[in-house]
């Protein structure tokens, strides 16, 4: 599959490009968010832990964006795609662009997305697109550690003091609605799933849900009820937070085009 790009139908190329952007932008934007915490974590050991995760995520984004650029075939490099797109062209779920908040808030956001990426990468290992499968297999090892880190913190904070419990429960209630779009399968994605390129989102959701329930139980937290949700970052409809993040992230390339170091 991966070696026959040139002969692939234009619709398939567009769908695969879009899907790769979704994966890449999820890692890229979350990596950028975590990078903001360097020098601000509650302890120096956590500072390094979060920075390690951020670097893993940005590394994943690089591999995926480089591949997306090749599939698109318009000569855009990973840097073009990372730094020179407009806000509505980013395809990350709005969950990952949400501000860091306190440490517990960062951890809740991290658990929700780590568990999601874990299932995605696990299933993408079997993709008929061998290059995507290889990227996923590499990312899976990183993601396992990410969830180990964030999950153990969720349990500590949820099952910790009255104060820490109340605060992470509040963060969970606040961030939970954003998980809805993670499993919102679009037509193009369904077609890719049927072709064996990407996993069916219903499968991913079932595994994610079970894993999250287990963690919440251990953390003595309540799973929030489903509520209406309006943002669909994966379709380019973002919250106001992404613009500020991009202004920060793109500043250098916008001000000094082509700058390298």
């Amino acid at each position: 599959m991966s070696s026959t790009l040139e002969s692939a139908a234009p619709a398939t190329v567009a769908a695969r490009f879009d899907y790769l952007l979704q994966l890449a932008d999820t890692s890229l934007i979350l990596g950028q968010r975590l990078g903001e915490l360097v020098g601000h974590a509650p302890a120096i050991e956590e500072d390094l832990g979060l920075a390690n995760t951020a670097l893993d995520l940005i590394g994943q984004a690089r591999l995926l964006l480089a591949y997306a650029g090749e599939i698109e075939g318009r000569g855009r490099t990973e840097d073009h795609l990372a730094f020179l797109r407009e806000q509505h062209e980013y395809r990350n779920p709005a969950l990952v662009e949400q501000p860091n908040g306190d440490f517990g808030h960062t951890i809740v956001r991290q658990v929700l997305i780590d568990a999601y990426q874990l299932e995605l990468h696990d299933q993408l290992q079997n993709s008929s697109d061998l290059r995507l499968a290889a990227i996923a297999a590499k990312a899976l090892k990183e993601t396992r550690y990410h969830l180990r880190y964030s999950g153990s913190w969720l349990i500590r904070l949820g099952d910790g003091t009255e104060e820490s419990h109340a605060r992470v429960q509040q963060s969970l209630d606040q961030l939970w609605p954003f998980t809805r779009e993670l499993f919102d399968e679009q037509d193009a994605e369904r077609a890719l799933a049927e072709a064996g390129v990407v996993p069916a989102l219903a499968d991913v959701e079932r595994h994610w849900s079970g894993r999250i329930d287990g963690l919440l139980r251990e953390a003595t937290l309540q799973r929030p009820a489903s509520t209406p949700y309006h943002w669909f970052g994966r379709r380019g409809v973002h919250t106001e937070h992404l613009g500020y993040l991009l202004a920060d992230m793109q500043f250098l390339q916008r001000t000094y085009p082509g700058a390298t170091w």
């Binding site: 509650p42 302890a43 120096i44 050991e45 390094l48 832990g49 390690n52 550690y145 180990r148 880190y149 153990s152 500590r156």
Partner: protein, 96 residues
Amino acid sequence: MTVSKDWPLYEIFIRARGGLDHKHVGSVHAADARMALEHARDVYTRRLEGVSIWVVRSTDIVASDPGEADELFEPARDKVYRHPTFYDIPEAVKTL
């Protein structure tokens, strides 16, 4: 940094490769042993330094008293014959 003040200190030992011994590399603050392992992983194995980690509560390490160094270590100073350097090694022995 208020959190880490309350966390006990753990000493970190890393095995660089299978077959080698664990070497002391430093210490981290952590709430418990599991967290200490994660912190050690994040702080001391970022550049592929190891394949195995030991963590030990610093307070569980019993150390010799520097003030007793004379009686502990000085007596060995004039006993060079304890080094196995007074033997001729046969040519046939390749690995010793």
